[in-house]
């Protein structure tokens, strides 16, 4: 007891030491295990593989990046992944906004709790189970097409599937279906930060806007949207980066075209080209960096 009190008073007088003691374990983890392996990955991408021996040559070279960018197939993969990430992010934002707005502004305490649980509940289920379930849902004879048929909208679905590039024989084997699954998977990551941001906008700001003559549309544009932008940015970083890095959804649902994550998986596994896998995984990091820089320039973090 006295020894404990002695320790307490010793630490109380030495704030810096106390903080260092608390922060050391997580900093070690973050610094060595996390950032260290990231740096190792970066370093790998500047190595190349010997074509004949299939061994990694540990000398710094840009050959792997040249290989990455000179093959049109690889560039296609990057562009395809990027296009999907942008589309998923936009769609998630559009779908999430009304839900988040309702949760933040209109729902009573019970309804709000129900919505929070409802939004998070899908995350309690195994990711793989959900992806495979979606494959069945979207299959040619699946629940989804049955439902569309009940609504008498089968021609519209067929029209959509006949669209070049995004279409396919069925939703389960088209980019359109993959897009639906991505949006479903990442939606909670958009709704939650968005709802948090909207909750911080006081009601009086919206009243002030209306009071000064702004129509509801103008209030949305000039007040709600700018103040929700940090939440929107946070959510979109999730949806964007998760889509860029995912390899399971594209390999279970959708058209046969490769995505970045699948290439990383394949290059480090079956192909055994660790440097190329590393180079591929650097691409999302750069894209997200560019995205954040763009968001900052557009003022997404000004209201923080």
């Amino acid at each position: 007891m006295t020894a404990f009190r002695g320790l307490s008073s010793f630490l109380y007088g030495r704030r810096g030491f106390y903080l260092a003691l608390l922060l050391l374990p997580p900093l070690l983890w973050l610094g060595i295990v996390y950032l260290g392996s990231l740096l190792a990955l970066l370093l790998q991408s500047f190595y190349a593989i010997d074509e004949f021996t299939a061994r990694i040559v540990p000398t710094l070279t840009l050959a792997t990046y040249y290989q990455l960018l000179s093959h049109p197939a690889n560039v296609d993969i990057i562009l395809r992944t990027l296009a999907m990430a942008v589309a998923v992010t936009l769609a998630a934002a559009v779908v999430a906004f009304p839900v988040a707005n309702y949760m933040a502004r209109y729902a009573g305490p019970r309804m709000k709790a129900l919505f929070y649980v409802g939004v998070m509940m899908p995350m309690w289920t195994s990711y793989l189970v959900k992806v495979y379930a979606w494959r069945l849902v979207l299959a040619k004879q699946g629940v989804f097409s049955w439902f569309v048929d009940q609504l008498g909208m089968t021609p519209a679905l067929e029209q959509a599937l006949a669209t070049p590039v995004i279409g396919g024989p069925s939703l389960a084997s088209s980019y359109l279906g993959m897009f639906v699954v991505f949006v479903y998977m990442w939606l909670p990551f958009m709704i939650l930060p968005l709802a948090a941001a909207l909750e911080r906008v006081p009601e009086s700001l919206l009243q002030a806007s209306a009071d000064l003559g702004a129509s509801p549309r103008q209030t949305f544009r000039h007040v709600i949207l700018p103040l929700a932008l940090p939440g929107l940015a946070a959510g979109s970083v999730f949806t964007f980066s998760l889509t860029l890095g995912d390899y399971i959804i594209p390999s279970v649902v959708g058209a046969p075209g490769y995505f970045i994550g699948m290439m990383v998986y394949q290059q480090q596994g079956t192909a055994g080209n660790l440097p190329l896998a590393a180079a591929f995984s650097v691409v999302p990091i750069l894209l997200i960096g560019a995205y954040l820089a763009l968001a900052k320039r557009l003022g997404a973090f000004d209201a923080l």
Binding site: D211, L212, G213, A214
Partner: protein, 358 residues
């Protein structure tokens, strides 16, 4: 009580719209479930008037303001602005602007952009609205801070920005919702003077919500005292202070002593409650003789509250009720009793105000 024009007592015939009125509430009620926040309030505010809605929290004064602004709609009755029925009209289509209690400045805009918001949503070109905003900031002596953000301002400065922003649309009526509530005393007094002179210069109708009777008394031309969703009394500040009609108004506006009918009968021979303001009561020594024509009573001095210019003497009467007498600092008349000692209280018969209730 004298009749105040434009105020309909309960049970009167339905009032008719008046031609000089800026705002009229006709038999307005607002229910929140079972709770009646406003209960059949009728009220006429004249153009160019500084009108205060005074009352404790939950008395309905803020609900009343929200109905005028259009943030809320009455469950019964009508709201008229300049003789036009606006009962169902949304706030953005009313020529009324509001200064909010928490100022409600847009945190993501500069001071100038905040002030220019009204013209902006009405489609004014960027340059014109900037010029207009700077003019308004000049009016509230803040043009040097035009490019700051609200977060960089003090409370008093935010208050002025909110004022400039609300005035830029040149509203017919400015609504102020406890605008000085968050400021410290010195700043509050300064802003009171400033608001009053601004109102007189611009000639705009001000409707001012407050729970601070001092604020209402010092600024308003007329005051409506709210209690439990109804107007308890509507009068000029002087009339409210000198001639309160009910015990509630006497206590709330004048901080007056209210003497119940039973004790009043013993003291004055009339069995009706009356109010007597502390500054009208003289504290005498226990054995002093009553001046001619005065009402008096004996009691025990409980304590003396020192307020600087005046001090308040709390005296317990034998029947248990408490009377407060105010003494001007430095006054040499009267007793020099200390707490626990016996004193005699006296006041002139003319200074007591008979109350309609209790």
């Amino acid at each position: 009580m004298t009749d105040v024009p434009g105020v309909a007592g309960r049970g009167d015939a339905r009032p008719v719209p008046s031609p000089t009125a800026a705002i009229e509430l006709l038999e307005v009620s607002r229910a929140f479930g079972a709770l009646l926040a406003l209960d059949g309030v009728s009220l006429t505010i004249t153009t160019g008037e500084f009108f205060a809605l005074l009352g404790p929290s939950g008395s309905g004064k803020t609900t009343c303001l929200r109905l005028i602004a259009g943030f809320d709609h009455p469950t019964q009755g009508r709201v008229l602005l300049d003789g036009m029925d606006v009962t169902g009209v949304p706030p953005f289509e009313r020529n009324v602007n509001t200064v909010f209690q928490d100022y409600a400045l847009f945190p993501h805009m500069t001071v100038a952009d905040n002030v220019a918001y009204g013209p902006r949503v009405r489609g004014a070109p960027a340059e014109a609205r900037r010029r207009q905003a700077l003019e308004m900031l000049d009016l509230v002596r803040l043009s040097s801070l035009a490019d700051r953000t609200p977060a960089q301002l003090s409370g008093g400065q935010k208050q002025r920005v909110a004022l400039a922003r609300a005035l830029i649309n040149r509203p017919r009526v400015l609504l102020l919702d406890e605008p000085l509530g968050a400021l410290d005393l010195r700043l509050r007094e300064e802003m009171q003077t400033e608001l009053k002179s601004l109102q007189q210069r611009l000639g705009i109708t001000f409707v001012y919500v407050t729970h601070d009777q001092g604020e209402a008394l010092s600024m308003a031309d007329r005051i409506a005292v709210f209690r439990d969703g109804r107007i308890e009394q509507l009068d000029t500040p002087r009339a409210l202070y000198v001639r309160p009609r009910t015990a509630f108004v006497a206590r709330f506006v004048g901080s007056a002593n209210v003497v119940a009918a039973g004790i009043a009968a013993r003291l004055t021979g009339t069995s009706q409650a009356f109010a007597i303001r502390p500054e009208m009561i003289e504290v005498l020594g226990a054995d002093a003789s009553l001046p001619a024509g005065a009402v008096g009573c004996d009691g025990v001095l409980e304590d003396i509250q020192y307020h600087g210019a005046t001090s308040r003497w709390h005296v317990r009467l034998p029947d248990g009720s408490l009377l407060t007498a105010a003494r001007v600092e430095g006054s040499t008349t009267g007793a020099s009793a200390s707490p626990g000692g016996r004193v005699r209280l006296a006041w002139s018969r003319d200074s007591l105000v008979w109350l309609a209730d209790g």
